[in-house]
Amino acid sequence: MKGSFLGKALLPLYTILALVFLLIPIVYTMVFSFNDSYKTNISWQGFTLRNWTNVCDAQGLCAAFGNSILIGVVSTLIATAIGTALAIALVRYKFRGRSVVSLLIFIPMATPEVVLGAGLAAQFFALGTAKGLVTVILAHTLFCLSFVVVTVKARVASLDASIEEAGRDLYASPAQVFWRITFPLLLPGIAAAALLSFALSFDDFIITYFNSGSMQTFPTFIYISAVRGVPAEANVIASAVFLIAIIGVTVTQIVSGARKRRLKSHA
């Protein structure tokens, strides 16, 4: 801490510079959402609000954005449901082959996306499945699943199992114990897992690119239009999504910080 070899002022100064470096492309993307450009959005042509007021003017952009939202929501719902069940089983139950199941959940996270994408595409090709919305949803559910399990598992492990036992002692049925005790206590973990899963799905490019066929998502739209120049309207969507997410995170931080302080002052 203080007096450490990194010095008192050097480390904060470095961190500020590093964080500014991290933010440069974000600021760039937001500034160029106001560029008065025609088709390509490379050099600054002057300020306009037109891109913000007519976002859907860029052909195919809003459809791609809609697909991304739909894929994100559906794969998040499936992955969260299946993943939560896996997490509960792994933490709360002893069964043979538990380490094999853990391994099966972790290997997809250690596999490069290009291999996951090519593998799924090879399988859909072998089965003669047409690529499109469904294949992308199936692919996204796969990589979200492992992240859901890891996130929810941490929450299940921190739960006090004696609360559930108390419920059972009071003659609650297993279903009642789950829906009245376990589920509400797990909810913050499940919500975090769902948000992470949506974020992963929404920004995924590599696996989507291999399995989307002619259907476009927001990232594949950007990748494909990068050959000729990405329209400024794409910057508008990205900036809007960024602002919503960052406001959400900041509010959550402030609220949870205030709650922690309240709890401390009561203790």
Partner: protein, 305 residues
């Protein structure tokens, strides 16, 4: 196990071993079925595809039949080994750079700023901010900033650091730059998580025993943050070695900086040479599994599971 670094490490004892095996099966079945159908089966598909032979009855592109053409491996690898060397060299360089850049950030947030929780929270939000804006657009932003008409090239040329006909984009430099930039948050977060739990009294004890700051760091701080360093380097190295966006020619790469991911995607989606793409993927996965296993054994973090 090799994948331990990703695992949640809490080995809280399993409370109350239930007898209700039907419940366990019900909980496990959907997830395991999903992983078997959409993870294991595709890997098998990929291996089968890698041994496919051209269809003798068809002149169509992308028409192959099941066979045991092990020669595919010899042919594809002898043509493509350079892409593996380049991918792993780029990924390794980016991982080391990201580690050097990220460690001080993580130390600042996790240790230095502890007396000021508001600063910690604000800095953490800024670290994860890049996650909320399209990774492709961020990479394209760097392409414009580092491009021939951008501010960086102009300054470097006027300082004669870059020759008059020099470029930054389309080179190995810009691909490694992009990879490093994109994975910094993945490096900061796990290191921060380890450092946040670090007991400061240990550092103070080191100082009290007349250890130099460098010795304190090397003998106390660094070893205690190793789980975070291992997780961060894996979260960077694995995706970086399979990435093809940064090296793509529409983004930061050029003809001489293509990575193995670019070869896989062009063989699979453009040339429709599925067996070649499958060989490249199977070998990439195998090499990564070996590297990861050796790395985790060496760093002594395999007991994390």
């Amino acid at each position: 196990m090799a994948f331990a670094a990703f695992a949640d490490t809490s080995t809280k004892k399993v409370t109350e071993p239930h007898k209700k095996s039907r419940v366990v099966i019900l909980l496990l079945l959907p997830g395991i079925a999903y992983l078997v159908l959409f993870f294991l089966a595709p890997l098998v598909s990929l291996i089968l595809t890698s041994f496919m032979a051209p269809n003798p009855d068809s002149m169509d592109m992308g028409s192959f039949i099941y066979a045991f053409e092990w020669q595919n491996y010899v042919n594809v690898l002898s043509e493509n080994w350079v892409f593996y060397v380049r991918s792993f060299a780029f990924a390794l360089t980016a991982t080391i750079l990201a580690l050097l850049i990220s460690y001080p950030i993580a130390y600042f947030i996790g240790v230095y700023a502890r007396p000021w929780p508001a600063i910690q929270a604000f800095a953490l939000i800024l670290v994860i901010a890049p996650f909320f804006i399209s990774f492709l657009l961020r990479t394209l932003a760097w392409k414009q900033i580092l491009g021939d008409d951008g501010p960086v090239v102009g300054v470097l040329k006027s300082l004669a650091i870059l020759p008059a006909d020099g470029h930054l984009t389309g080179t190995a430099f810009s691909v490694i730059f992009g990879l490093t930039y994109n994975f910094i948050p993945f490096m900061v977060l796990p290191i921060y998580t380890s450092l946040e739990r670090l007991d400061i009294r240990l550092i103070e004890a080191g100082r009290d025993l007349y250890a130099s700051p460098a010795t304190t760091f090397r003998r106390i701080t660094l070893p205690l943050s190793m789980p975070g360093v291992v997780a961060g380097t894996l979260l960077t190295f694995i995706p970086a070695s399979g990435d093809f966006v940064n090296a793509s020619q529409q983004f930061l790469g050029g003809p001489s900086s293509q990575m193995v991911g670019n070869q896989i995607s062009s063989n699979f989606l453009k040339i429709l040479d599925y067996p070649a793409a499958a060989v490249l993927s199977v070998v990439l996965m195998a090499v990564i599994m070996i590297i990861v296993t050796v790395y985790v054994r060496r760093t002594g973090t395999e007991d994390l599971v």
